[in-house]
Symmetry: C3
Subunit: 138 residues, 3 copies
Amino acid sequence: MRVSHEQLEVRTNGKGTYEITDKVQEKVDNSKMKNGVVTVFVQHTSCSLTTMENAAPAARRDVERFLEKLVPENADYEHDDEGPDDMPSHIRMVLTRTSETIPIVDGKMQIGTWQGIFLFEHRRAQHRRRVHITIMGE
Amino acid sequence: MRVSHEQLEVRTNGKGTYEITDKVQEKVDNSKMKNGVVTVFVQHTSCSLTTMENAAPAARRDVERFLEKLVPENADYEHDDEGPDDMPSHIRMVLTRTSETIPIVDGKMQIGTWQGIFLFEHRRAQHRRRVHITIMGE
Amino acid sequence: MRVSHEQLEVRTNGKGTYEITDKVQEKVDNSKMKNGVVTVFVQHTSCSLTTMENAAPAARRDVERFLEKLVPENADYEHDDEGPDDMPSHIRMVLTRTSETIPIVDGKMQIGTWQGIFLFEHRRAQHRRRVHITIMGE
C-alpha cells in the first residue's frame, strides 16, 4: 500500500459547474494505483467539489438556478466587503461539499454511469482553483 | 495494510430513508479488517447516502418532509423529461451526500449511539441502488 | 502504511461554529504521520463537522443566520419531544456534513489559506461532542 499526491488547477470563468472527471481519472492512471480510493479535495471556501449528473447540462443548470434562488446575492449579509456574490458562495459551499472519496478498482474510479465529478464555482470573477488529489492503495 | 471492496444492492420502494448500517457492518466483518476506515459510496445521482438519526423514525420523516418542501416537485425545472420527481432528486443529492467515510476500531464502525447509515431514496418508482463499500486498513 | 486513531472532545456552549483546525493538526503531529489523509468524523446527529471560512467570523455568523432561517425552530415538526431546537439540528446536519477527509503532505494538512475545520453546533444547551480522528498513511 502507498500514497500518491497530485495537484489539479481548474480555471473557472464565472458561476457554474466544471467537470473534472477525466482529469481525475488521468491522475489515477499516472499513479499506477489499481486498487484503493481517491480523495478529491478543493482548497477553497467559495466553490464546491461534488458529484453530479453528468449527461444532462440542463439538470446542472437547474441545480445552479435552485441554489441562486435558495441563497440569493441580495440578502442582508453582515459579511459583504468582497461583493454580493461572496457570502452566498460560502453558504453554498457549506450546503454542498468540499471533497469526494471514490473507490478505485482495476485502476478505474467506480462512479456510476451518470455520475461525474464537478468543481462547482460560486463566484462571478475568473478564478484558478486548486484541487488536491490523494490516491491511496496498491 | 490492505484494501477490500464489497458491493451492496439496496432495493428501494419509493421516496424515503432505508437503513443499511447492519449490512455495512456485515461487510466490515467479512473483510476481517480490524482497524482502518470504511467508505460507503452510492453510485447514483438521484438518491443520497448519509448518516442520520436512527432511533426516531419521526425525525427521519421530518427530514423527508423538509426536503419535499425545500425542493418541490412542481417547480419550473428545465430538465423535466423523466417526470416531476427527477430534477428534485438531483438537487436533493447535491444538498446532502453521496458517501460517508467511517472509522473502524476493533472491527466495529465507530458511529455514535444515535447514528445510522441510510440510503436516502428521492425517486417515486422502485429502484435497485448500487452501494460500493471500500474497507482500508489492517 | 499504518492507521492511527485519536479522539477529541469538543465542549460546546450553544449554537455556533467552533474551530478545531489546530487541535486536529496536533493529533496529526502526534501520530508522526507525514503523508496520507486524516478523516475527522463527528459521532452525533445534532451537530455537523465541516470546513468553513476561518478568517471572517462575520461570514460564519451569516452561515448560522442563513441556516436558522432556512430550518426554523418553530416549524410544525412531528419529532418535537426534545425541544424546539432538536429537529432543526438533525435537518441541518443532513444539509451539511458529518466528516471531512483531508490530505496530509510533509506532516501538514493541505487545507487552503482560508479553510478551517469546524464543529458546527446546532443545539442550544451545553454539549460534549466526540470527534473521531483517523490518520492513514506513512
